[in-house]
């Protein structure tokens, strides 16, 4: 692909493209192939929930492509489908690039024929042509172009074939005048369309659309077209003609539902076109997907298999993840020493070594765990298994008042709550969506993983820690279901929404796609550690080191001078550090809020760590790193895990983990939640709901753990 830099933007030709297609046909992947963009790609409906623009240059033209959420038809069934429909109807663009899945052409062409009625220039990309070939589907794209009156190009976004030809076709269509696409309807409809068009022509009616398109819109009862024409005088005589036309079509179709009639018309057209242009060279046997489905969504085995996969994921997260941790820890120790040696100024050294390096190091330590978790989620997303789980779980979810498709945002929530909140848009019904939004927080996000790994590592032996980790996630999810049931019975009463969902084909995960997603997300995590977490660590360092205690220090330095043995010197030094910390700003804050957390068995350090977690959950770990590093740093290098084990009673750790599982998500996620829920009042509901639940359950968990 040539990416020439254009000298003069004024002489450049801009082509504005709207990218439209049914869900999961590879629109975002196609954009990535064309322009080296890095849009998120998955194998289920509804990955793209917001429109998103990508720019690039090709052969002297400046392209801008708007990637629109996938839509089955131009209606407003879900929020994101509404985005697409309103963009197509009212935004400014030069042409529509309609992406279709070659392996299910007939269904895709139904949307294509609807798009062709919009009166815009259209180019059709027959995507996944490589897969179609493998399945023995032969498409005569030249004949297809001729039948539709619209240029169709075979491409494969995954294999990057046909891309240049597609771009050339777009340019060609852009440079030429709009040619009317060829739609053929049933005899009755054609006859009535002709009558209406002749009437419009005879009365010299003109609008932005050609009269043939207006005729279609009128027969479809399209509100915009009716509104536009109803002010004209010719409308008076047109009305009886329209009424008669509708009656004729309705009798012909034996249905009084115009929408159904039109859908059938489009489908019939698509069927006709496919019959002419598509040849199946292989006889249909049981496909790979169907064979796999007999096991994976088996009525009895399906759910146990799913649970096994999840268990395996968390085992791996802990087992493999813990291998490089020692090295990373040692590395940060070395960096701390090396950097510390370079800085002469005492306070600055403390800020850099004990504040920034300790804080960031504590977060970066968990990179291996995070990577494994992200790989697991990426596999789930890209293989098509996600929709199967939605299928399996709908029965259970339904009992708890959730929708089967809630599973998709909920699983995304194990990675990060922010995309999870956004993907809740695939839920059509507002109540279902709000309910799901409230529950997403119960799915522990990747940023909470470090806290869990830290505590399970501190209190459990290596061989059960993975199971404990799995249990934490499962218990979180079950609590989420129970909370959903309670909310459904109280705040979100209402009728149940239908569950109709496409099951995508299984695809082998592509190494490139997975690594791309995982690297992207890991990089984001690292970036956050380097910026936000570093800043937060500095703040925590400052709050824990100031105000300085000259009197206290003097007292101790006298005692230390008088001390007899080396041991008592170390002990005194630790005592000094402990007391200064307690008198620091952070200590003051902690002491102030301690009474609230005392019934839960949390001391002021844990209480403070929880507060800093409101900014970001990783900060919990870095705060603990700073708070517990103090005093002990000289004797035990390996580190926070040991410090936690020595300083925190088991029962307190349990209640701490329970709070982490349930309480308010981080600041960024809370903001997205508020936006998606549609108002600040929902944020306060969430705050109240999560805080009360967390406090109540932590209290119980603490009591129970004390009995053990």
């Amino acid at each position: 692909m040539s990416h020439k830099v254009l000298e003069c933007p004024l002489t450049t030709k801009h082509i504005k493209i709207a990218l439209v297609g049914q869900p999961n046909v590879g629109k975002s992947m196609l954009i990535n192939s064309i322009s080296d963009a890095r849009l998120h790609v998955g194998n289920f409906s509804g990955v793209t929930v917001e429109k998103c623009e990508v720019f690039f240059d090709y052969s002297g033209y400046n392209f801008s492509i708007t990637d629109l959420p996938g839509t089955y038809a131009l209606n407003n069934y879900t929020i994101e489908e509404g985005v697409t429909s309103s963009f197509l109807h009212s935004a400014e663009y030069d042409l529509i690039l309609n992406v279709t899945d070659s392996t299910s052409l007939e269904k895709n062409l139904t949307l294509t024929s609807e798009i062709m009625g919009l009166g815009k220039k259209v180019v059709v990309a027959l995507n996944m042509s490589d897969e179609a070939e493998k399945e023995g589907i032969e498409i005569d794209e030249k004949y297809l172009s001729k039948l539709l009156g619209v240029k169709c190009v075979k491409v494969s976004a995954a294999k990057k074939t046909g891309i240049e030809e597609l771009l050339e076709s777009i340019i060609e269509s852009f440079e030429h005048a709009h040619a009317k696409p060829k739609m053929i309807f049933s005899e009755a409809v054609e006859e009535e369309l002709h009558t209406i068009k002749s009437y419009l022509d005879a009365h010299n009616y003109s609008s932005m659309l050609p009269n043939s398109a207006v005729a279609i819109n009128l027969l479809q009862e399209d509100l915009c077209s009716i509104e536009a024409i109803s002010t004209e005088s010719l409308y008076v005589d047109l009305q009886p003609i329209l009424a008669e036309a509708k009656r004729h079509i309705q009798t012909h179709h034996d249905s009084d539902d115009l929408k159904e009639i039109w859908a059938e018309e489009y489908a019939a057209f698509a069927r006709g076109v496919v019959a002419e242009t598509l040849k199946l060279t292989k006889t249909e046997k049981l496909s790979f997907t169907e064979r796999l489905d007999t096991i994976l969504i088996h009525p009895l085995l399906g759910i146990p298999i799913f649970l096994f996969f999840m268990w395996a994921l968390f085992q791996l997260t802990f087992e493999i993840g813990s291998i490089p941790m020692g090295y990373i820890d040692a590395l940060f120790g070395l960096i701390g020493e090396a950097v510390g040696g370079l800085i002469a100024h005492d306070e600055l050294r403390s800020l850099i070594v004990d504040g920034v390096i300790a804080g960031v190091g504590a977060v970066v330590l968990f990179i291996p765990n995070i990577i494994i978790l992200f790989i697991g989620i990426a596999l789930l997303e890209s293989t098509g298994y996600m929709s199967r789980v939605a299928f399996l779980l709908d029965g259970i979810f339904h009992k708890f008042g959730l929708h089967g498709q809630s599973f998709i945002p909920l699983v995304t929530g194990f990675g990060c709550s922010i995309p999870a909140y956004m993907s809740a848009r695939i839920l059509k019904n507002d109540r279902d969506r709000l309910l799901t939004l409230f529950i997403i927080g119960f799915m522990s996000c990747g940023a909470r993983l470090p806290v869990y790994v830290l505590f399970t590592g501190a209190f459990f032996s290596q061989n059960v820690a993975g199971n404990v980790l799995f249990a934490i996630y499962i218990v979180g999810a079950i609590l989420g279901l129970i909370a959903a049931k309670i909310l459904k019975m109280t705040a979100f009463k209402g009728v149940d929404e239908p569950f109709v969902m496409e099951m995508p084909k299984y695809r082998l995960p592509s190494l490139k796609l997975i690594s791309h997603t995982v690297i992207n997300k890991t990089w984001m995590y690292l970036k956050k550690a380097g910026t936000f977490i570093a800043l937060a660590s500095m703040l925590v360092w400052f709050l824990s080191n100031y105000p300085q205690q000259p009197v206290l220090q003097q007292e101790y330095s006298i005692k230390i001078e008088q001390a007899s043995s080396q041991e008592s010197i170390v002990e005194l030094k630790n005592l000094l550090a402990k007391e200064s910390l307690e008198r620091s700003y952070l200590g003051e804050i902690g002491k102030f809020i301690e009474p609230i957390f005392e019934p839960l068995g949390l001391d002021w350090r844990l209480a403070v760590a929880l507060q800093t977690g409101l900014a970001a959950k990783e900060v919990v770990v870095s705060t603990l790193g700073v708070l517990y590093a103090v005093g002990d740093s000289s004797q035990s290098q390996n580190s926070l895990t040991d410090a936690i084990r020595e300083n925190v009673p088991f029962a307190s750790a349990v209640s701490f983990i329970v709070i982490i599982m349930i309480y308010l998500p981080c600041l960024a996620a809370s903001i997205v939640f508020t936006r998606e829920a549609g108002g600040i009042k929902y944020f306060f509901y969430l705050l109240l709901f999560t805080s009360l639940t967390a406090y109540f359950l932590a209290f119980i968990a603490h009591r129970v753990a004390l009995l053990l």
Partner: protein, 76 residues
Amino acid sequence: MKTLIDCDRGDIVTIKRLHTAGELKQRLISFGLMRGAKVKVLEFAPAKKTIEIKVNSTRVALRGDEAALIEVIDES
């Protein structure tokens, strides 16, 4: 009246009528579930809570309650 929920695994049937209106009907239609469409029943979840079917080359999952709204006739 026979509906999709009354079918067995592996049955191939033709849709006769959709006993629903409005959005759900449009949704079903946009998946290809319309009068005259041939449907193959692929899989049931326990207690027929959910059902997986194939229409054209598309696999669609439906809840049992929705499947009960789709009247079908046997392929002759």
